[in-house]
């Protein structure tokens, strides 16, 4: 219901505003800011828009890049122990791709690697150079682990079309979604080329006292540590008094 109204709004917007009408693809998000508050259990954001020309639509939503180490366990004396590890620079902390058709039918892999479209086309470079055949299993493991955590996903056919020109897709953020500046990109691709693209920013932040706890834990760790101890001492003391009277 809500999504329908948004699509209608997008339609009206594109009907009445001249310059937007001229662009081959326009897109927007139902929210630009996601607040992580104490009741946060994950959320969905609707990405919707209108397309003026023929071609394939691909939506990519990407979180802030981070340095990640992927470890491999091996068996040592009957126990599974982390043995080898590879660090990747600039791995997206969140990555979601949605398209109307399988990505390899839309464009060649080289092209997709250029724009980082598709889980198999992410540019995951190890921080220390290693032979490609050693890196590949770690790269796949990173994607697989992130998919399991709900932070990476690819959905083919998750794009909804209303008439031929209006589209929408739902972007899901799980409870463990990292904070930061996100980017939602919509590509219109035809004959293996990007005809048009539109980027919309999205911010995910902790708010309220969650933000404060996290902020002080990282910016004033000494003060935070002392306060944590004082809170515990006070709580223990209160408990001792309360139950002595009872």
């Amino acid at each position: 219901m809500n999504s329908l109204r948004l699509i209608l709004a997008a339609l009206l917007l594109s009907l009445f505003s001249g310059p937007v009408w001229a662009a081959p693809v326009v897109a927007d998000l139902s929210k630009y800011v996601i607040s992580i508050d104490s009741g946060f259990t994950g959320t969905d954001v609707l990405l919707y828009g209108a397309v003026e020309e023929d071609g394939d639509l691909v939506v990519v939503v990407r979180g802030p890049p981070e340095r990640v180490s992927v470890r491999r366990k091996g068996r040592v004396a009957g126990i599974w122990v982390n043995q080898d590890s590879i660090e990747f620079e600039d791995a997206p902390s969140y990555y979601m791709v949605a398209s109307s058709r399988p990505l390899n039918e839309i464009a060649h892999r080289n092209f997709r690697e250029l724009h980082q479209i598709g889980l198999d086309a992410l540019q995951l470079t190890p921080s220390v150079a290693r032979p490609e055949e050693e890196v590949e299993p770690f790269r796949k493991a990173l994607v697989r682990n992130r998919m399991r955590e709900g932070l990476y996903s690819d959905s083919i056919g998750a794009m909804k079309f209303l008439s031929n020109r209006l589209f929408s897709t739902s972007v899901q953020f799980p409870a463990n979604v990292p904070e930061g500046a996100y980017r939602a990109e919509v590509f219109l691709i035809r004959d293996g080329k990007v005809i048009s693209a539109e980027t919309t920013p999205l911010f995910i932040n902790k708010t309220g006292f969650l933000w404060q706890i996290n902020f002080y834990a990282h910016s004033q760790p000494e003060l935070y540590g002392i306060l944590a101890i004082l809170v515990a001492l006070f709580a223990g003391w209160i408990a001792a008094i309360a139950f002595r009277k009872a």
């Binding site: 990640v68 540590g225 001792a240």
Partner: protein, 306 residues
């Protein structure tokens, strides 16, 4: 009802956390143990990152030890002099332990070391308790067990220098001994996220020869400061103390402990010990199984270098 934990960065059921606090609190009330050695593995089982579980549990133990020590203090069951010597060792050990924790984490081996420490210590304690409770439950037929115990037995440890008089414990021993015990327990407290009472109490009775009446109060007294030190150092070095999680756990914990204390006085000692031994061995077995069993995915994502 779900609640988002700001440092663990995950959403958890508030009633599950309160219930865990309460459940472990009941056990700690019945058995007179801190419960850290049960709570930390439970937190890891529900998906709290091990580093956060260990640091947050240290913070919770500060609270439970304070409420425990006040009761013992009123009865005069705290040997402050002994507590301070143990504490000096504890501060040294726990500071070293937090440093070691950071090093192991950067090497990617912290989860392994936490698990191995649990398997070793829970295994030893669980087996010892199981034997003891089985032996006491068997009809006390074996004659000659009434051998009179001497007030003091003299080992090599009594030849160590820096002898000190501990009036309340009725001991005249080298300060190096409690200092050493403090160091060892401090390291374990930092790495395992426990108060260390389950190691300290037997060590005080069997190694130091302290009278059992002052053992629990004195160990709680020093645990307050050692876990406070761990909380502070973990907060400063690793930013892994989740105060919201700690508050939820201790709310359940203090209530549970009161219920447990009342229950404990109605149950029989040897059966209780047998029950605790089973719980300890079950936790130990689960951790061991996770270490030995083939993981679903041999690859994992390690600590993020920010």
């Amino acid at each position: 009802m779900q609640i988002y934990l700001p440092i663990a960065e995950m959403s958890a059921n508030i009633f599950l956390l309160l219930g865990m606090g309460g459940g472990v609190g009941i056990l700690s009330g019945i058995f007179g143990v801190g419960g850290g050695f049960l709570m930390t593995p439970l937190l890891i089982f529900i998906g709290v990152p091990p580093a956060v579980a260990v640091a947050t549990e240290a913070n919770q133990i500060v609270a439970s030890s304070v409420s425990g020590v006040l009761a013992h203090w009123r009865r005069g069951n705290v040997d402050f002099k002994m507590g301070i010597v143990l504490l000096v060792g504890g501060i040294i050990g726990s500071s070293f332990g937090v440093w070691l924790f950071s090093v192991l984490r950067d090497l990617g081996q912290i989860d392994l070391v936490i698990s191995l420490s649990y398997v070793v210590f829970l295994g030893i304690i669980g087996i010892l308790m199981a034997f003891e409770s089985v032996r006491t439950m068997l009809p006390a037929s074996k004659g000659g067990s009434s051998r009179r115990r001497k007030l003091h037995q003299h080992y090599w440890v009594h030849g160590l220098p820096w002898k000190m008089r501990f009036r309340r414990s009725k001991l005249y021993i080298s300060a190096l001994l409690p200092l050493g015990i403090g160091v060892v327990v401090g390291v374990l407290a930092a790495i395992m996220g426990v108060g260390g009472g389950f190691i300290m109490v037997p060590a005080m009775i069997y190694l130091l020869g302290m009278p059992t009446s002052v053992v629990v109060g004195t160990s709680l007294f020093q645990i307050i400061f050692v876990t406070a030190n761990v909380t502070f150092l973990q907060a400063v070095n690793n930013a892994t103390v989740d105060v919201l999680l700690a508050l939820l756990l201790l709310t359940g914990g203090v209530i549970g402990a009161q219920v447990g204390t009342r229950l404990g006085s109605r149950l029989r000692g040897e059966q209780l010990r047998g029950l605790l031994a089973l719980i300890v061995l079950a936790v130990c077995g689960k951790i061991l199984y996770d270490l030995v069993g083939t993981p679903a995915d041999p690859f994992s994502i390690g600590f993020l270098v920010k």
